[in-house]
Subunit: 245 residues, 2 copies
DNA sequence: AGCTACGATAGAACAACGTTCGATACGACG
DNA sequence: CGTCGTATCGAACGTTGTTCTATCGTAGCT
């Protein structure tokens, strides 16, 4: 009934009399392999059977470490958020709080670009223990140096997180197999969409026509940076602290 | 092999010799019931078996109308986005393009508040036919009246959509059963979280302590409005068109 | 050393799901 | 009355998360 508390359990293997092995896991190895599975082939590739095979053990063994797939996902997410948090804490402190905020948000977004599946599960658990809350705290600390009310600070961080998540969800959209197979790369895929848009009636879709060239081959990071910049500008204006101009 | 093209197929019923019924669906009824299922019990409640039972027919019949669950989800989403689009088109045109943008974004967000499951699936298909692209067009049109480059317009709409989606994902988080059962309402749930936060070390979590009172019992719509306002102010500044001040 | 209690592993089975198959009913047209 | 295309349905298949029950291996005790 109890859960493994000692994380010092090393990955060791012992031999069974009849030659069959008995795998020996650890919370660390389970999480690491789960994340590897997610990284390599996306969310749908993470199944208990696939994970068990990767660990060289049985399916039911995983249930010794996690009570459900939900918990597995939560723990795996928290695991990588831990590394993001470390990246953010390594960031050099800047003079301008808003510059700090931007740097943190970009670090977070970069991590999601590397791991698109994060976009969907990120912010699922605001458990008291766990790295999400610590990340939230770190994102909020720069706002303490801005001239804002508590409510404005709360809303400001929510806004920044919202922009990150909003862009991340876009990113997390599983490409429709063709590009996963490598048969079509992302640029061609975008280009095909753009081409279809160009054939729409310009009178009925004036805006789509206006931006189709920008959409075609656009960079996700650029898109995110622009969105982030808009909220940061709004925030700077709200704080009344000019850029110096 | 063909798909139903005539949407005039009425919901009629005929009697089987042995007394068993044969249900008669239509694309409309399938989508309507699918949406009803989603509305009543969330995304996980929409299964082919549950939907078939609701339609009074067999499971396989649904496959006459949709080729997969993915397509069912896409069509259902598009179905309700159609109503959102209608709401947005009914909006009175305002003098200020940014006021238009705000009104549209709020209408969209309201729809997601009513249907939290929308947050996850919204923006899944940017198919050329379909209401998502039309919605995107409508959201973009106000930017045509702003003094911006095409790229800025593209990024502006992406930013607004990002804020909506970002807040929506927060909303779409399935409450952990307790509040679904009605045993605990949302306010108590938030309050419990807030209480846990208050017990954290203030030195380690200064920001969390600063905003915990705001978090406790906060309103999601307020949160969204604030986030939206930040990007809109940023946008207004970018367009160089002052509010009049 | 032998015994025991518990930490940890695993195969088999279960229920639910998306999906496919083959059979069959119905209405329209000849 | 037979035929064809539309539409429906029960049954089955494969995969998934999860549970049950049996077992192994080691640490700790006598």
């Amino acid at each position: 009934m109890a859960r493994p508390q000692s994380r010092t359990a090393e990955a060791r293997r012992s031999r069974h009399p009849d030659g069959r092995r008995r795998a020996s896991h650890s919370m660390e190895s389970v999480l690491t392999e789960a994340v590897a599975l997610l990284d390599e082939a996306g969310a749908q590739a993470l199944t208990f059977r696939a994970l068990a095979q990767r660990l060289g053990g049985g399916v039911a063994s995983i249930y010794w470490y996690v009570a459900s797939k939900e918990e597995l996902l939560d723990r795996a997410t928290d695991h990588v958020i831990g590394t993001v948090l470390a990246d953010i804490e390594r960031l050099p402190a800047l003079d301008d709080p808003i510059d700090d905020l931007r740097a943190m948000a970009l670090t977070l977004f970069d991590a999601i670009v590397d791991r698109p599946w994060l976009g969907a599960y990120f912010m699922r658990e605001t458990d008291v223990q766990g790295n999400s809350l610590r990340l939230y705290e770190k994102l909020g600390e720069p706002t303490l140096r801005l001239d804002l009310t508590a409510r404005q600070r709360f809303h400001a961080v929510s806004a920044v997180v919202g922009v990150v998540v909003g862009s991340a969800v876009d990113l997390g959209q599983e490409p429709p197999q063709e590009v996963l197979d490598g048969a079509v790369n992302r640029e061609d895929f975008l280009h095909r969409y753009a081409q279809a848009w160009r054939e729409l009636d310009p009178a009925e879709f004036p805006f789509v026509h206006e931006i189709v060239d920008e959409f075609d081959g656009h960079d996700d990071v650029d898109q995110f940076r622009s969105a982030l910049e808009l909220t940061l500008t709004g925030l700077r204006l709200q704080a009344g602290t000019g850029t110096g101009a």
